[in-house]
C-alpha cells in the first residue's frame, strides 16, 4: 500500500533537495478608497494596489 503520510515534495539539485516554492498572498485589508474618477485613471479602487508600470529606461548596449 502506498505511503500517504504528508511529505514535503522536493526537487533534487546536485546533492541538495530544496523544497518546492509555496505561494502566499496576504489578505487585503479594507481601507480608504479612491473616488470613482480617480480609480478609473489609476486602474484600481484601492490605493495599496496602485502599480504605475513605468516604461523601462533605455539601456545602452541592449538590443531591443
Amino acid at each position: 500500500m502506498a505511503d500517504l503520510t504528508p511529505q514535503p515534495v522536493c526537487f533534487p539539485i546536485n546533492e541538495a533537495c530544496p523544497q518546492l516554492a509555496t505561494a502566499y498572498v496576504p489578505i487585503q485589508p479594507w481601507g480608504a478608497v479612491f473616488e470613482p474618477a480617480q480609480a478609473l485613471s489609476k486602474g484600481t479602487l484601492f490605493p495599496p494596489l496602485v502599480r504605475p508600470y513605468m516604461p523601462m529606461p533605455y539601456k545602452k548596449g541592449v538590443e531591443k
Binding site: 479594507w30 470613482p36 474618477a37 480609480a39 484600481t44 479602487l45
Partner: protein, 93 residues
C-alpha cells in the same frame, strides 16, 4: 458629443469600474460591511447617473430607463458607439 455628455459618460464608466473592483474585493471578503455599503452606494449612483444620461441622450443598452412607450429608442437613437460620429442612425424612419 458635447463636453457635458462626455463627462456624464466618464462618470458612468468610473462608477462601473469602481463597482467591478469592489465586486472582486467582496468575492474574497463577503462579510466586509464597509465594502458592502460602498457597493450599495455606488450601485445607486450608477443607476441614477445612467437614467439621467439615457433620458437626455438616448439608451446605453436596449432596456433600462430609456424605455419609451411609443417607440423603440434603441433602434431610433444613436448607438453608444455612434455618438462620437455625430449620432448616426441605422434605420430610416
Amino acid at each position: 458629443m458635447d463636453a457635458t455628455q462626455q463627462s456624464k459618460l466618464l462618470e458612468i464608466q468610473s462608477l462601473e469600474f469602481s463597482l467591478y473592483d469592489l465586486h472582486l474585493f467582496l468575492d474574497t471578503h463577503p462579510y466586509c460591511t464597509d465594502a458592502l455599503s460602498l457597493y450599495k452606494e455606488y450601485n445607486n449612483m450608477l443607476e441614477e447617473t445612467k437614467c439621467e444620461y439615457e433620458r437626455r441622450y438616448g439608451p446605453i443598452s436596449p432596456g433600462g430607463c430609456g424605455l419609451n412607450e411609443k417607440s423603440w429608442d434603441w433602434a431610433l437613437k444613436p448607438w453608444p458607439w455612434n455618438q462620437s460620429q455625430g449620432g448616426m442612425k441605422h434605420v430610416d424612419v
